[in-house]
């Protein structure tokens, strides 16, 4: 009898540990968004990807429709080549365009895909040529400063 109750306590301990792991995986981690759904690969070139990282989401109208699979550098065109894994349940026209966006002011970067008007859809291994680079904060600030300086010269005349 005493042995049985001991086993119950050990069982409770192990179950508690499993529950804690489930909690970490599902409530704290991204297991709920992890999917093994079939995907198709799309390749794209960007002039500048900013702080984009692998596993970053690809969103259309705010909904996650794919993820960034890998990021490489093409030393022929001196561009970043980004491979996307798109969820097969979402189809996009061949002439869709990509844009690197930031969620919030300092948030993580993701790719926004806006559909085009082509009747054919993107297939595995297709290339997207119409891309828009990430907005680099330093460029924005320097543009702003140069235009300010130019304004100052004009008004000084």
């Amino acid at each position: 009898m005493q042995r049985k109750s001991l086993d119950v306590w050990v069982g409770l301990f192990v179950v508690l540990g499993a529950a804690a792991l489930m909690f970490l995986a599902i409530k704290a981690g991204n297991l709920s968004s992890f999917s093994l759904a079939p995907t198709y690969r799309v390749i794209s070139k960007f002039d500048n990807i900013g702080g984009l990282k692998p596993q970053a989401p690809v969103k259309s109208a705010g909904v996650v429709v794919g993820r960034v699979a890998e990021i490489g550098f093409d030393d022929k065109t001196f561009q970043a080549s980004v491979v996307l894994n798109m969820d097969s349940s979402y189809q996009f026209p061949k002439d869709s365009s990509l844009k690197i966006l930031t969620s919030g002011l300092l948030g993580e970067q993701y790719i926004g895909i806006s559909p085009g008007g082509d009747t054919k859809n993107l297939a595995n291994g297709d290339k997207i040529t119409s891309t828009q680079s990430a907005v680099v904060l330093e460029d924005l600030i320097s543009q702003f400063l140069y235009s300010k300086a130019a304004d100052g010269k004009d008004s000084g005349k």
Partner: protein, 263 residues
């Protein structure tokens, strides 16, 4: 005069090195003979469950309470720092990442060394001092199989469970302080956490870390007990050494594993 001093110094260094090498060699030999002896344990899993009860269940309360308070403190301190940058929404992410990647495994291992490691060393050491281990050998019972093996595997199994409980309770502590007391937005707290914590990169690597720490701490404790001088002072010294060596080992192993896993 100087020559004699230098000679004494060199002798001391050499002697220390020799003792250290002896310990490393003996520990390695003991580790492998314990692994070999452990195969017989599959026929008697009861030995292991008994020890899980002793090592794991009795450590549960201290682990859970420490986890809760570490979570509280992370919630408070994290809010204080993040608030300066106006990004207190990331509090959930900060709490979950620091717990699952570092604090969960490391603090659990340190507490585990203090709570379970010392008791293992003292138990084995007293068994040796009372010549119980020698008596077992006389009866053709291998103490590595009957005494050391079950305790080792129980420690290796208990440690990741305890670390997972520590992290989970800590996240709840962070939630209580961050959301319920300070008033961080609840949706942002969880969604930022889910967006930033990767199951394989963060949670699974944390579990791997805790398995390695469990292995190291339990084996150090058992080795110190098994190798102790069979006197009251010897057992006392062995217990102290268990805490010192296993704490240091956990810290440098943590650095090594972090550098390997999250580069």
């Amino acid at each position: 005069m100087i020559g004699r001093l230098l000679g004494g110094l060199l002798g001391a260094i050499g002697g220390g090195l020799r003792v250290w090498l002896y310990n490393v060699g003996y520990a390695t030999r003991m580790f492998f003979s314990m692994l070999r002896a452990s195969f017989g344990l599959w026929r008697r899993p009861r030995l292991i469950t008994d020890q899980i009860h002793f090592i794991g269940n009795y450590s549960l309360v201290i682990i859970a309470v420490s986890g809760l308070f570490v979570g509280f403190v992370l919630g408070l301190q994290g809010y204080y720092t993040l608030n300066k940058y106006g990004s207190e929404q990331a509090l959930g992410l900060l709490v979950a990442l620091s717990l699952s990647r570092e604090l969960g495994p490391v603090v659990t291992a340190l507490l585990f060394a203090g709570r379970a490691g010392t008791s293992l060393t003292a138990e084995i050491g007293l068994m040796k001092a009372g010549e119980q281990l020698a008596a077992m050998e006389m009866m053709a019972v291998n103490p590595l199989q009957r005494v050391i093996g079950p305790r080792f595997w129980a420690g290796v199994i208990s440690m990741p469970i305890l670390a997972a409980i520590f992290s989970a309770v800590g996240i709840m502590g962070g939630y209580v302080v961050g959301v319920k007391m300070i008033g961080v937005d609840e949706g942002a707290f969880w969604s930022q956490m889910q967006g930033g914590v990767d199951v394989f990169q963060d949670v699974l690597n944390g579990v791997l870390k805790s398995v390695v720490f469990g292995l190291a701490v339990t084996f150090i404790a058992l080795y110190q007990g098994y190798e102790t001088d069979p006197t009251p002072e010897g057992v006392a010294r062995a217990t102290t050494r268990t805490v010192v060596i296993s704490s240091l080992t956990v810290l440098w192993l943590d650095f090594l594993l972090t550098a390997l896993m999250f580069n």
